[in-house]
Amino acid sequence: MSETETTVFVVDDDVAMRRSLENLIRSVGLRVEAFASAQEFLSSKREDVPGCLVLDVRLPGLSGLDLQKRLAEVDIEIPIIFITGHGDIPMTVQAMKAGAVEFLAKPFRDQDLLDAIQQALERDSKAREQRAEVEVLRSRFELLTPREREVMPLLVAGLLNKQIAIELGSSETTVKIHKHHVMEKMRASSLAELVTIAARIGSPTPKS
């Protein structure tokens, strides 16, 4: 990943704090985009670049925690580093449970923030890689016929061909052909591998 692409987003309503964060992050050679409120961040047109979010907990309107929730709701996965003037333990726990990278109390040591940013960026790039792999698996899954999509969860669930034939009201031979196509299309060398793929793409589980 190139440095120009990677961006650290900062949301803090306090202009001095916001400016100092920008200054600090820029001084380590990272690109920074700063926002005064959660709404401003949400409505901005951001490039889908690797990055992380330095987020103040207390904000006018939508709070930092609200923003975290909102981002999760719309499947925007961006590592978040919370900063707060007076963080308490319940708030910290809530933030961390929701996947925050770090929770820093102001004033914090610059290195702690920069380390957290670094960690977050790594986590983001890793996540991005994983997301890319799943995308590939999903596109393979898209190639399956409807019948094959029915057969796959039953295979993953560990049913025998005979059982699958009964389940689908089909013949054992036909099931065997479907199984072969699924393994081929999903590029699974073994049933175990197919199970792993299914888990990653989150394919539907068979109806009980």
Binding site: N23, R26, S27, P107
Partner: protein, 713 residues
């Protein structure tokens, strides 16, 4: 024969003459003696052919005698009776000589024979003298005739005289009767007049007595007279018995006036036992000294009524200098006594009330400028002794504190000039150095003619109140400080956040600066250093504001821009606003005039209202807007209106009612002091603070006004 015939004729003639003479008295009846004599003389001269007939009649009253003379008419002779009288004088004296027969003829030549005829015993009546030149005179028949005539005349004259006497007596009697009658008439008239006058006087007297009785009855005043024998005071009470007791006097003692004057003992018994001896002793002492005396005493009537009487008595001394009696009046003064008592009591109540409330009353004569009334408490308020001092207006005014004197005098004089009420607050400085605060009000008293007569008013001591007010003000100020500190305490978290922000920024910028320096990025390093400086200033400002709020400073008034004050408070509350996800908007009026006020106090009010608004919106659902507006505007160029609105749940009726009550709070941690203190601060600034429901939104509006002061140039 012839002789005989002549003689018969002569005799016959003589008889006729005699009959004529005899008849004379019948003619004379009722005649005067002079007339009788006159006819007699006429008869004699004719009958006897006399040369003269003279009569001299004595006046019974002793006057000069009446003389008469008759002469024969044929001879034309004239002579006065006095001539004959003179000739006959010697025989007419008191002791007459013997009558001669012949006398010289007084009326002719020769001698005449005369014959005197005496009338009555010793010529008592008078004498008649007949004279004739005839020598034979008087013949025998002539003598008879003359003597019969004289007798007849004497009888006639006697009768006439008697008659005349009788007549005179009768006349006299008549006259005396008349005189007496007229005297009696006059006397009668006088008497009638006197009677009339007396009746009138009596009527007058009766009327005046009636008036007096009426007057006595109406005024409850009785009169009495008391018989006192000097030097016998110790004798029986009858010595001092009442000789007069007017009806009302008797009634005052409860006696029926119709029954006459009661005895002294009866009167004595009606005097109240407690007063009896004292009153009587006082009276007797006065009697001994013969002086006027006034006695006050009570009477007890049979029905139990008690009357207060006031008696005045006065000694009456006769010309010999002896004391005769005491007269006097007794007046029923029960009503007056009661009125006096009531008045005395109500005056006492008033004085007591004035004393207890430290309120004095006074009145001032506008014309003379001198006080006409000054209650005891008023004197005491100004440090005078009510027992001794009678200060003049100048002395009163001298007690006013020198710093206040001019304005008080000016206020009073202005009110007097304009006939208006006045009120004044001032201090008095007493001689011992004590200072009192007085509040005085006065109003003009105008008579029916519309003239200003006097000013009356009251002054009361408000020193205690002033001190209480000052103490209250101090307590309020302390309380305000406490709540301010408490508010700051509540805000500690946000305040530390507020300070942490610039501090954190400074740290970040300093670290950034170091990194820029390490990378030799000097421009960036310089920028970072500038940011550090700016953040440092900001932190300093915040600390200063907090210190100002926490400071315990006495109220002071400065000209201030209310919009700036609002901004300062908003800065302080910013983190609280943000922490609660509140959106704060301001709509501050342009060119809002500066107002005179205490910056810290007004900040406290704004802080209070904003914090309350935030607090109110804390429970609002997250998806609903939490909005806070702070507005300012000029209203009718007299006031500045500041409004703090929120979009919270608003105020219910009960809360609205009790909002400004001390210790009323809807917050679990609240003191219930914020709004009452805010209101007292605003009111101390001459403004108003009130709450209403927010009309266009949910939520509440708190508004306050501050008067725009004329800026003193």
């Amino acid at each position: 024969m012839k002789q005989t015939i002549d003689e018969i004729r002569r005799l016959r003639g003589c008889i006729n003459d005699l009959i004529s003479v005899q008849a004379l008295p019948a003619m004379w009846t009722g005649q005067e003696p002079a007339q009788i004599v006159s006819t007699l003389l006429d008869v004699l001269i004719g009958m006897l052919r006399l040369d003269f007939a003279y009569a001299r009649l004595k006046d019974p009253a002793g006057e000069s005698p009446i003389e008469m003379l008759r002469l024969p008419q044929s001879r034309n002779l004239t002579a006065s009776p006095q001539t004959i009288g003179h000739v006959l004088q010697p025989w007419l004296e008191d002791a007459p000589q013997k009558w001669p027969v012949l006398v010289r003829n007084p009326i002719g030549d020769g001698d005449v024979s005369i014959m005197p005829l005496r009338l009555g015993l010793r010529d008592k009546i008078g004498v008649i003298v007949a004279g004739s030149q005839r020598a034979d005179f008087p013949g025998e028949t002539e003598r008879l005739l003359l003597s019969v005539a004289a007798n007849q005349a004497a009888i006639g004259l006697q009768e006439a005289r008697l008659l005349s006497e009788q007549k005179r007596v009768a006349e006299e009697l008549d006259q005396r009767v008349a005189e007496r009658t007229s005297e009696l008439l006059a006397a009668n008239e006088q008497l009638e007049k006197e009677i009339a006058e007396r009746m009138q006087a009596e009527q007058k007297l009766r009327r005046s007595e009636a008036y007096l009785a009426e007057a006595q009855r109406l005024t409850h005043t009785g009169s009495f007279a008391r018989n006192v024998a000097a030097g016998k005071l110790t004798e029986s009470s009858e010595q001092h018995s009442l000789t007069h007791s007017s009806d009302e006097h008797s009634r005052l003692y409860g006696f029926d006036p119709e029954r006459g004057i009661p005895s002294s003992e009866e009167f004595r018994q009606r005097i109240h036992p407690e007063d009896r001896d004292g009153a009587l002793e006082k009276f007797e002492r006065a009697v001994a000294e013969r002086t006027d005396v006034e006695v006050d005493f009570r009477t007890v009537l049979p029905d139990g009524t008690i009357k207060n009487l006031h008696a005045i008595s006065h000694p009456v001394v006769n010309t010999a200098g002896d004391l005769v009696e005491y007269v006097g009046t007794v007046m029923d003064v029960t009503d007056r006594k009661q009125a006096e008592e009531t008045l005395r009591r109500s005056e006492a109540y008033l004085a007591e009330a004035q004393r207890l409330t430290h309120t004095g009353s006074w009145a001032l004569n506008v014309a003379t400028g001198e006080p006409t009334h000054s209650s005891e408490e008023h004197l005491r308020l100004l440090g005078f002794d009510p027992e001794k001092d009678k200060p003049s207006e100048v002395e009163f005014r001298q007690r006013v504190h020198p710093d206040d004197r001019e304005s008080v005098v000016e206020t009073m004089d202005k009110a007097i000039g304009e006939r208006t009420d006045f009120e004044a607050d001032f201090r008095v400085l007493l001689p011992d150095g004590t200072i009192k605060y007085l509040h005085a009000i006065g109003h003009p008293v105008i008579n029916a003619a519309g003239d200003l007569v006097e000013y009356m008013g009251t002054s009361w001591d408000v020193t205690e109140r002033k001190r209480t007010e000052e103490a209250l003000l101090k307590a309020q100020s302390e309380l305000a400080h406490v709540t301010r500190v408490a508010t700051l305490g509540e805000m500690t978290a946000s305040i530390s956040h507020e300070i942490n922000q610039p501090l954190g920024a400074m740290v970040n910028n300093a670290n950034a600066c170091l990194r820029w320096l390490a990378a030799s990025k000097l421009e960036e390093a310089r920028q970072s250093a500038m940011l550090i400086a700016a953040d440092g200033y900001r932190a300093g400002e915040i600390v200063a504001r907090i210190r100002a709020l926490a400071r315990k400073a006495p109220p002071r008034k400065d000209w201030l821009d209310i919009n700036k004050t609002i901004q300062e408070v908003i800065t302080l509350t910013r983190s609280e606003v943000q922490g609660n996800h509140v959106s704060l908007k301001t709509r501050l009026g342009r060119n809002v005039p500066p107002i005179l006020g205490d910056r810290i106090q007004l900040q406290q009010v704004l802080l209070n209202l904003i914090m309350n608004a935030i607090e109110a919106m804390r429970g609002v659902d997250e998806y609903l807007p939490r909005e806070l507006w702070v507005d300012s505007e000029e209203v009718e160029s007299t006031d500045v209106l500041i409004a703090v609105r929120d979009s919270g749940p608003g105020l219910d009726a009960e809360t609205l009612d009790r909002l400004f009550e001390t210790f009323y709070t809807t917050k679990p941690e609240g003191l219930g002091m914020g709004l009452p203190i805010s209101r007292s601060i605003i009111e101390a600034h001459g403004g108003r603070l009130w709450a209403t429901a927010n009309a266009s939104h949910t939520g509440a509006v708190f508004q306050f006004t501050l008067p725009i002061s004329e800026r003193a140039s």
